[in-house]
Amino acid sequence: NAGVTQTPKFRILKIGQSMTLQCAQDMNHNYMYWYRQDPGMGLKLIYYSVGAGITDKGEVPNGYNVSRSTTEDFPLRLELAAPSQTSVYFCASSPLGGKGQPQHFGDGTRLSIL
């Protein structure tokens, strides 16, 4: 199994550009999450989803959008890239979310906004 796959691994954007970070999982997990990790810091929850068609905001949702049209995919959209969004983005999935199962993480997408 591939587990959680994130693409791209690295990206450089100019201020004001938009892009979509892709996340796919092949474990049939209902719950999926997007986190950002700034240098030397912990992970902050951006958005999460409890199933196809259902998403909710986390701790730091401003400047991002998500959609969940299928169980497998959970893309994260940056509409107007800003330098403050320079970070490493992690996607994760879990069978039962916060109710009692471990999370599986992708390897991250390193994003720089210049």
Binding site: L45, Y48, D56, S94, G97, G100
Partner: protein
């Protein structure tokens, strides 16, 4: 929202030494996980431990949910144990999983 604290923020150990990392949380949680982020940035799930004690080789973890803390024990540390250790909690009645700020561990030969 729930607050998650970890201590110490930084730790330097001589190879072979033992250590205890602590995670405190401010509210009831459904689950608690410990992760290791290696120097390449990968997040590796060490334990899923909402309560009780678990052991995996040189690592063990204990969660006392009623007192809102968890401990991660590392025995006979090795240089490969270096990295950042995070605890993450699943919040009661919600599906969010929130991370603590981490403990940065450096094991020197």
């Amino acid at each position: 929202g729930i607050q998650v604290e970890q201590s110490p923020p930084d730790l330097i150990l001589q190879e072979g030494a033992n250590s205890t990392l602590r995670c405190n949380f401010s509210d009831s949680v459904n689950n608690l996980q410990w992760f290791h982020q290696n120097p390449w940035g990968q997040l590796i799930n060490l334990f899923y431990i909402p309560s009780g004690t678990k052991q995996n080789g040189r690592l063990s973890a204990t969660t006392v949910a009623t007192e809102r803390y968890s401990l991660l024990y590392i025995s006979s540390s090795q240089t490969t144990d270096s990295g950042v250790y995070f605890c993450a909690v699943g919040v009661t009645s919600y599906d969010k999983v929130i991370f603590g700020p981490g403990t940065s561990l450096s094991v020197i030969p």
